[in-house]
Amino acid sequence: MLSMKNINKVFKTDLVETHALRDFNLEVNEGEFVAVTGPSGSGKTTFLNIAGLLEGFTTGEFSLDGVNVSNLSDNHSAKVRNEKIGFIFQGFNLIPDLNLAENVEVPLRYRGMNASERKRRVESALEQVGLGARMKHLPTQLSGGQQQRVAIARALAGEPRFLLADEPTGNLDSLMARQVMELLENINQQGTTIIMVTHDPELARRAQRNIQIVDGQVCDFSMYQPAATGTR
């Protein structure tokens, strides 16, 4: 479903070259729930931005759903993002002037969907995250957890093939984080592929697969000697 081969991402300034990703390889299958962990500055967000077609990369090959998306035009990237990818951010990134229904509706607008279909999907998505009764509320009238649920609803409304979540619980307390995590698990069980970047090892453990990025590369766990296991 998602395949990255030898991806390199270099940020260049006049003086410095920073290798955010180096020879990055990853395969994610349909329906998987993958947690991505790693220390700060390891390249997790860069990976997610490339996976979400928000950023290009310097060299390598990236295919999504079997289609090479390495050199898509801006318009084409936007279309793929709109139709196949859902985003969930740490800071929720809701548009404060729009009420919940309008926020959830935004990606559908760009898809050129008719009003009745939009309405149906918005209602369904908000119902799914338990906020069906608060469609006319503004984001500022909600708690952090609720706002994140709206962001999830916005991502779900487009019925994406996979969800990219960047620290989705980073701004939430543990109770709300657990609720959001349960929601993501439900969504995954319904068939949506999820890639989640997190710092929280407990959340990472709940994913089906766990990958760690260090210095812009996926760590090879096959070389890892679980010495600690023997001492237990």
Partner: protein, 437 residues
């Protein structure tokens, strides 16, 4: 999507009322000033002759002596006017000047009015396509043999005869009875091209009487009389025989052939007059002493649109461009402030084109509001000009076309100012803002 963008634009304007108001104010003041000057310029430079502009021609003669005036006068002497009137080569010709007479009727209840009067020939009505409500112009014989006949305006007809057909009735002009032969419909060409020297934006006269009465009635001249040498003017006859110029002369020349033929006739006329001791500017050949000007040239030669007005239009456009730069700055501030929102929209599927369109709709809306407010400014400025500076009424009426042109100019201005900020914001890299939020 257009209506969606309109909705977003309206929300954005309401969200930052102060900034939006500043932008609307900047556009509206720029537009208000530009439209005010453009309106005055448009009114002044309008050619009321329309498609007859080439056909209607003024005749000018260089009757002045050597080293006197250095340009053709718009007027001519009575002698020349009479001689030109007697030339039978032309189909339509009219000598004309302005006088003033008191008009009254038999009805003692209606007070007399002092009126500006046009003294002219019957062809004046044909040349300038003056529309008639009742009756017509006087008979051709009246141009030869003076008769006390008059054509009055619809307005005077309403005042003196309650708007009924007054043809055949009598009015008194300076206590002399004149028979009404025609009533014209409202007719007030602006600029008053047949006599721009006496106020290019004054109203047209409402009384017209035969030129043939001039010598007999010794009408005062309510207009320019210019002379280039000393001539005693003890009697009215002195005026008629003098080299003073005070009469305009108009003809209708349908084509170039007619124009050339008439110019040739005028040249022969000047040659003939020279033998009688007139047209004494020996530095010029006879053909250089005659000129015929169609309406467009006539208006230009008479400076109906002064240079100052053109400069003013230029300055106002310059001011509008200063406003445009200010708006650009304000828009850049406003749009960049919303870059994080753009980042989100881009991330969830908006293309650059869609973002660009969204912001262009917003600037167009600001421009439209600015245009409407600008129209109010223009209307207020024109009214103030009329009230405080005694600018002619005809110049302060906001031209109908301006009501449509103004919003278009305002929207165009805003769009020009908005292109760069919208372009900058639509190129926002979504990833930069998504984490920062």
């Amino acid at each position: 999507m257009f209506f969606y963008y309109c909705d977003l634009a309206w929300r954005s304007i309401r969200k930052t009322p102060m900034l939006s108001m500043l932008m609307v104010l900047a556009i509206s003041i720029g537009i208000g000033i530009t439209i005010t000057t453009l309106n005055v310029y448009k009114t002044m430079s309008y050619n009321p002759a329309g498609d007859r502009s080439e056909v209607i021609n003024s005749v000018q003669l260089w009757s002045q002596g050597l080293d006197t005036w250095d340009e053709f006068s718009s007027n001519m002497t009575y002698t020349d006017a009479m001689n030109l009137r007697n030339n039978n080569e032309l189909s339509f010709k009219a000598a004309t000047f302005r006088t003033g007479l008191a008009m009254q009727s038999d009805n003692p209840k209606i007070e007399p009015v002092l009126q500006s009067v046009r003294v002219t020939d019957r062809d004046f009505f044909k040349i300038f396509s003056v529309p008639f409500l009742y009756g017509s112009y006087w008979d051709v014989s009246v141009d030869e043999r003076p008769a006390y006949q008059v054509v009055i305006s619809q307005k005077l007809n309403l005042r003196f005869f309650e708007g009924k057909n007054s043809v055949g009735k009598t009015v008194f002009l300076d206590r002399k009875p004149y028979q009404i032969v025609g009533v014209i419909e409202d007719w007030n060409p602006q600029p008053k091209y047949y006599d721009p020297l006496n106020g290019a934006f004054n109203d047209a006269e409402e009384i017209f009487i035969p030129f043939s009465l001039t010598a007999q009635e010794e009408f005062d001249v309510w207009g320019n009389t210019s002379g280039w040498k000393f001539e005693p003017m003890l009697t009215y006859n002195d005026r008629l025989l003098s080299e003073k110029v005070w009469i305009q002369f108009w003809t209708e020349l349908s084509n170039q052939e007619q124009k050339q033929s008439y110019l040739a006739w005028l040249t022969r006329y000047v040659e003939q007059q020279r033998t009688m001791g007139r047209f004494t500017d020996s530095a010029k050949t006879p053909s250089e002493l005659v000129q015929i000007s169609h309406v467009e040239k006539w208006l230009e030669d008479n400076n109906v649109v002064p240079k100052d007005t053109r400069i003013l239009v230029g300055l106002s456009l310059l001011f509008l461009s200063v406003c445009l730069v200010n708006i650009l700055g304000l828009l850049l501030t406003k749009f960049l402030k919303r870059a994080p929102e753009v980042g989100v929209r881009r991330a969830i599927g908006a293309s650059r084109g869609q973002i660009f369109s969204q912001y262009m709709v917003e600037v167009s809306m600001i421009g439209f509001i600015g245009g409407v407010v600008g129209l109010l400014w223009a209307f207020g400025s024109l009214t103030a000009l009329h009230a405080y500076f005694e600018v002619d009424q005809s110049l302060i009426g906001l031209d109908m076309s301006m009501w449509f042109i103004t919003p278009l100019i305002a929207i165009s201005t805003a769009v020009i100012a908005g292109i760069y900020p919208a372009w900058v914001v639509c190129r926002t890299k979504p990833s930069v803002y998504l984490k920062a939020q």
